[in-house]
């Protein structure tokens, strides 16, 4: 589904990624672990088109992403839930979630479903789809329903992370990229978020998960990649990595 082949990328004179290869197949949860500064976030930014690869290719469902502008990538069914949440602080919870559905109107207009629809019918369909998907998010994160009228910036860190995941869900992604969803959160909330990731995956969403919390990530994922200073140094089944002495030593604190 997603393929990185020999991708190098960086900022200015600094090369962060050095010819990395990575693949995510449809239906999988793949995790990318590694220390701070290993290049995990840069990998996600390169996939999303914020950083352009200097060499190599990023393809999504066979399509080369080199020429796709960053704001078009979400329309292909690929969305990132960024590190540090990046919610819209002065929009309400509901408006934040609706931003996740921002591209739907023109997508529906172009799709075979929407082609024949008139203005009123189109708006009706958008509205009912939106209500249905909002209900789905609220079912997974009931606290967001209680806070729907509150400004995003007033939520707690855990609630903001739920909002960020909910907002990403509203884009109806085929592939969800998650950057450090557990960062700075209480264990109970991390567990809640990881449960939701598992649920989403069972419902057919493919996941690429970047995590500092390597143990939890490897337990959840099917496969894993280990990154060190811009290179992929190991890749295997998650259970194999979990048992690997070097991984245990370096990332699991044993």
């Amino acid at each position: 589904m997603l393929k990185l082949e020999g991708v190098s990328a960086g900022y200015g004179a600094i090369e962060v990624l050095k010819k990395i290869d990575l693949e995510v197949r449809a239906g999988e949860i793949v995790t990318l672990i590694g220390a701070n500064g290993a290049g995990k976030t840069t990998t996600l930014m390169t996939i999303c088109g914020f950083v352009k690869p200097r060499t190599g290719r990023v393809t999504f469902e066979g399509r080369d992403l080199a020429t796709v502008p960053a704001h078009e990538i979400v329309r292909l069914g690929l969305v990132q839930c960024p590190e540090g949440r990046k919610i819209f602080p002065r929009l309400t919870v509901l408006e934040n979630l609706e931003m996740g559905a921002f591209t739907r109107e023109d997508q529906l207009r172009r799709s075979p479903d929407g082609k024949g629809l008139g203005g009123a019918a189109l708006r009706h369909k958008l509205r009912t789809d939106l209500e249905r998907d909002l209900a789905e998010v609220f079912e997974l994160f009931p606290i967001l329903a209680d806070r729907r009228g509150q400004a995003g910036g007033t939520l707690s860190g855990g609630e903001q992370q739920m909002l960020a995941v909910g907002r990403a869900m509203m884009t109806k992604p085929k592939l969800l990229l998650l950057d450090e969803p557990s960062l700075g959160l209480a264990p109970l909330i991390v567990k809640r978020i990881f449960d939701v990731i598992e649920t989403l995956n069972r419902e057919g969403v493919t996941v690429l998960l970047v995590e500092q919390n390597a143990r939890m990530a490897l337990k959840l994922a099917h496969r894993g990649y280990v990154m060190e200073t811009g290179e992929v140094t190991m890749t295997d089944e998650a259970s194999v990595l979990l048992a690997d002495a070097r991984v245990r030593d370096a990332y699991l604190g044993e």
Binding site: C48, F50, P69, A70, H71, E72, V74, R75, V79, Q80, P82, G84, K86, I87, F88, P89, R90, L91, E95, E98, M99, G100, F102, T103, E105, A151, G153, T154, L155, S156, G157, Q160, R167, T171, G184
Partner: protein, 314 residues
């Protein structure tokens, strides 16, 4: 009592014009954190276009029915002019500096401001306005809107057709802006981009287009303001953008820069304070009082009247 009421009317009317200019400052700041110093001079060029059109179509001799049609048309023309010019400046000057340090576009904006002032000077020297030697002189705008008191000439209080024109047209424009920002897709995209451009892009918003649209809208508002101003104050001058721009910018800061209702509130406060000051303290004290008030406010409320520093939790 009547003097006070009269000064309030004057203050609100002036404040409305400042508000239309202040909106352009605050919207661009909200989205780019750029103080577009050329904005006041864009407003000035708009007023030159308005006067040019008034002269070219010989409106002083036109019937009131013709005026009723011609003046809104001029307002639209100046709005298009202001929007197009502001958009072009962004494309040519600010956009290439998007990833440069914030100081670079700021200094460039000051440069654009000087270029605009010189364009205004050149425009004022065109044969249409008389001798080229008088390019820097103030140009009179014919009185097209009547100055009769709507309350009857004997009344103590004066509210003229002109005052009404300023207030009604400004309010219409502001309501239109409010609807655009709150209830359209573009408005949603603008608010999201102002709050977090990276996240907006992840959600599929074309941030460059949103920025372009913001410049068009801000410039359009300045264009409309310039027509209202020309018809209200009845003069046009190549340096008029500097002073009015400075007051409008102060209004935007006073209200909370980046905050749209704040810009309108700040402008009304400044308009009223200026009017009261010139009545009760002396006109020469206006700038000192207005800027003194700004400094005091910023000491106690650094974010401005309506600005809020939402502390983002991490």
């Amino acid at each position: 009592m009547e003097t006070l009421a009269q000064q309030l009317i004057l203050g609100v009317t002036n404040g409305m014009v400042f508000a239309l200019i202040a909106l352009g400052y605050t919207m661009v700041y909200g989205i780019l954190e750029l103080i577009n110093f050329a904005h006041g001079d864009l407003f000035m060029l708009g007023s030159f276009l308005a006067l040019t059109l008034i002269k070219v179509f010989d409106l002083p001799t036109a019937s009131s029915a013709t005026l009723l049609l011609a003046l809104p048309t001029i307002a639209v023309a100046c709005a298009v002019f202001g929007g197009a010019l502001n958009w072009s400046v962004d494309r040519l000057v600010y956009k290439p500096l998007r990833s440069a340090p914030k100081l670079a576009p700021l200094v460039s904006a000051i440069g654009v401001s000087f270029i605009f002032q010189n364009l205004g000077l050149f425009w004022g020297g065109l044969p249409l306005f008389g001798s080229a030697k008088d390019a820097s002189a103030q140009k009179d705008v014919p009185a097209l809107i009547s100055n009769v008191n709507l309350l009857g000439e004997g009344a103590h209080l004066r509210i003229t057709t002109k005052d009404l024109m300023v207030i009604v047209s400004s309010v219409i424009v502001m309501v239109a802006l409010y609807v655009l920002v709150r209830h359209t897709r573009l408005g949603k995209a603008m608010r999201a981009t102002a709050q977090n451009p990276a996240a907006a892009r992840l959600m599929g918003i074309d941030v460059d287009r949103v920025i372009g649209a913001t410049f068009v809208i801000g410039g359009g508002l300045a264009g409309i303001a310039s027509v209202i101003y020309a018809l209200y104050i009845n003069t046009v001058h190549y340096q008029a953008g500097f002073q009015n721009g400075l007051y409008a910018f102060t209004a935007a800061v006073l209200g909370g820069i980046g905050n749209i209702p704040g810009a309108v509130l700040g402008a009304l406060v400044i308009g009223v304070v200026r009017a009261l000051c010139s009545q009760y303290i002396g006109a020469q004290w206006e700038p000192a009082v207005v800027f003194g008030m700004l400094i005091l406010l910023l000491v106690f409320r650094p974010a401005g009247l309506l600005g809020s520093h939402v502390r983002e939790k991490v």
